[in-house]
């Protein structure tokens, strides 16, 4: 039995620069932190060769006969993609019970589906007895969403979830580099205390918004310019945090939100603008709608003394607060018995060794 959990993340700046069409030409740069809200995957061995998938988030259950690999299609397409990706590692022959649950609903812009992809990758690798590095877990999680599901999304969420912590993440043709922000523990705690999250109750798919953004980038130079400015603001945010100017960081969040609204018409809505204005009037220095925008959570930087007023203003507008702290562990195997759930015949072992050789030498991420 294997239990794995992977954190969701809040992205402070640089969102949109993690898409290949941008970072291949101009280098992507984001700053984000994982938070203590998790996507959890439980994998139990079966002896009858069947594959069962249960998702608490989508309230779905599906079962497949021995020897039948589920085609990668809705519903439950993400766990099916993960099973397809690891099919040759013996999961298909032994069978598996997969149970998926998230603390943050999908489609709310905290990267919960990418956290789930990360948790699934780690869980199935652990289940099959394959050891992967953190960056390999992140890359495979990206591949599940991008190559298998065809989502037009970036790579920042999977890396943020796999590594955990408060990081800058850089994207280029040389690879992905994760660097923890060198903050004093008390600065980090002070920032943690000043960040607030409120659920707007709106769920949306980042895919449609991001593909519109990608199309825009090709045809409209001003979208490219907005992405350049977003990247520079993300760099400025890091500078503010490094010198412990937290209020300055909060004001940059506000500037960044104004830029993000230029990217795509669906990023905001009148209701969201009203909530944002109300929080600003109540003392929030900056904030944004999480993820690719269009709904989900309102992330705010609020000085401690203004927090009660902001809470009142947003509650009056029907928003619910979600408590959290920063996570520093990233994806973790919470529990694992009988490590190799797949019987280790010489044949399978031989194949794994060759497969692992093909995984080497292609990642440049730095670990903590």
């Amino acid at each position: 039995m294997v239990i794995v959990r992977a954190p969701v993340r809040i992205s402070f700046g640089g969102g949109g620069t993690d898409i290949p069409s941008y970072y291949m030409q101009h280098r992507g740069f984001v700053v984000s932190t994982a938070i203590t809200r998790y996507a959890t995957v439980m994998a139990y061995p079966r002896s009858d060769g069947q594959i069962h998938i249960t998702s608490a988030d989508y309230d779905q259950h599906e079962a497949f006969r021995r020897g039948e690999i589920p085609p990668v299609a809705e519903p439950l397409s993400l766990p099916k993609a993960a099973i397809a990706r690891f099919a040759r590692h013996g999961i298909a022959t032994t069978g598996i019970d997969l149970f998926l649950a998230s603390e943050v609903p999908p489609g709310t812009g905290l990267g919960s589906s990418s956290a789930m992809a990360t948790a699934l990758t780690c869980a199935l690798a652990e289940y099959a007895g394959i050891s992967l590095t953190t960056e390999q877990i992140a890359e495979i999680a990206c591949s599940l969403e991008i190559d298998y599901l065809g989502m037009p999304i970036g790579k920042q969420d999977q890396y943020a979830s796999a590594f955990g912590g408060l990081n800058t993440i850089e994207f280029s043709t040389n690879g992905v580099t994760v660097t923890p922000l060198p903050l004093a523990p008390e600065t980090r705690q002070a920032l943690d205390d000043r960040m607030m999250l409120f659920s707007t109750g709106i769920q949306r798919s980042s895919g449609s918004l991001l593909s519109r953004q990608q199309a825009n980038m090709r045809d409209q130079p001003e979208v490219l310019d907005a992405l350049h400015r977003i990247k520079h603001l993300a760099g400025d945010m890091c500078d503010r945090l490094t010198i412990a100017d937290l209020d300055g960081f909060g004001r940059l969040l506000h500037e960044c939100w104004l830029e993000k609204r230029r990217l795509s018409s669906g990023v905001s809505s009148p209701a969201i603008d009203d909530c944002y204005a109300a929080s600003h009037a109540a003392g929030a220095l900056g904030g944004k709608v999480t993820g690719a925008g269009g709904g989900g959570f309102l992330l705010l930087y609020v000085p401690l003394e203004s927090q009660p007023a902001v809470r009142r203003a947003l509650r009056a507008r029907g928003l619910r607060e979600m408590s959290f702290t920063f996570d520093s562990q990233g994806v973790q195997v919470v529990d694992c018995h009988n490590t190799s759930c797949v019987p280790e015949s010489g044949h399978i072992h031989d194949r794994l060794t060759k497969g692992d050789a093909m995984l080497e030498g292609s990642y440049y991420a730095r670990t903590h």
């Binding site: 990668v72 099919a87 040759r88 040389n174 194949r351 794994l352 497969g355 093909m358």
Partner: protein, 213 residues
């Protein structure tokens, strides 16, 4: 002997479970879009992947021809042996594809780069030239994608154990894309780009010549 052969075929049967169909579909759509923009598709690779590059170029050029549609402009960079050996001899093996691309590739073109490791230096050099020219880069790789996966707009990673299986999968991907493109064109025949009169005349001329012979 027979045991190894049977094992290979049995493993082969599981390949279809692991193919990233969304990425393959994106490749087919990108090729179709490239043709609409009057772009050229370049294909390249080393060893078995060179053979796949030639094979794919052949099938894409000929096997997808459909009445009512302009054929694909496709060119393998693996088949001009004099040019390949000239660059290899006078410059370096790493430049054999890059130098060919440098004289040909434009921003509306697509470059299909085939490398199981994803780290073949001459393929990476070609990817760099394609990116400099703002062409769309498509990589077909093995499990990790290697450096090539990081330099490409679309990467088709094949999570299979052996080089041979990955190469088998690449060839099947080539065939599946050609068949899909042909079906799509037959479905939309005469709704899309009409064939310029010159193409149908050519067909008549060909027939006339063969009649004489």
């Amino acid at each position: 002997m027979r045991e190894h052969i049977e094992t290979y075929w049995r493993d082969f049967a599981t390949i279809t479970n692991s193919i990233p169909y969304a990425a393959v579909t994106q490749v087919a759509e990108t090729i179709l879009e490239c043709q609409r923009n009057d772009g050229t598709i370049f294909v390249l690779g080393n060893g078995g992947s060179a053979a796949t590059a030639s094979h794919f170029a052949c099938d894409l050029a000929k096997g997808t021809q459909t009445p009512g549609h302009r054929p694909f402009r496709v060119m393998p960079l693996t088949d001009n042996v004099p040019l390949l050996t000239a660059w290899g001899n006078d410059s370096s093996y790493e430049r054999i594809f890059a130098e060919q691309l440098a004289t040909l590739v434009r921003d509306r073109d697509v470059v299909v780069l085939i490398s199981a490791s994803g780290n073949s230096p001459n393929v990476l050099h070609a990817a760099a030239v394609a990116r400099e020219r703002n062409a769309t880069t498509i990589a077909w790789t093995g499990e990790s994608g290697g450096k090539l996966g990081l330099m490409s707009d679309i990467t088709v990673r094949i999570p299979l154990a052996s080089i041979e299986q990955v190469e088998d999968a690449h060839l099947i991907i080539a065939h599946s894309i050609c068949v899909a493109l042909r079906c799509e064109r037959q479905r939309t025949a005469f709704n899309d780009v009409l064939v310029p009169a010159a193409y149908s005349n050519l067909a008549t001329v060909d027939l006339a010549i063969s009649d004489e012979v």
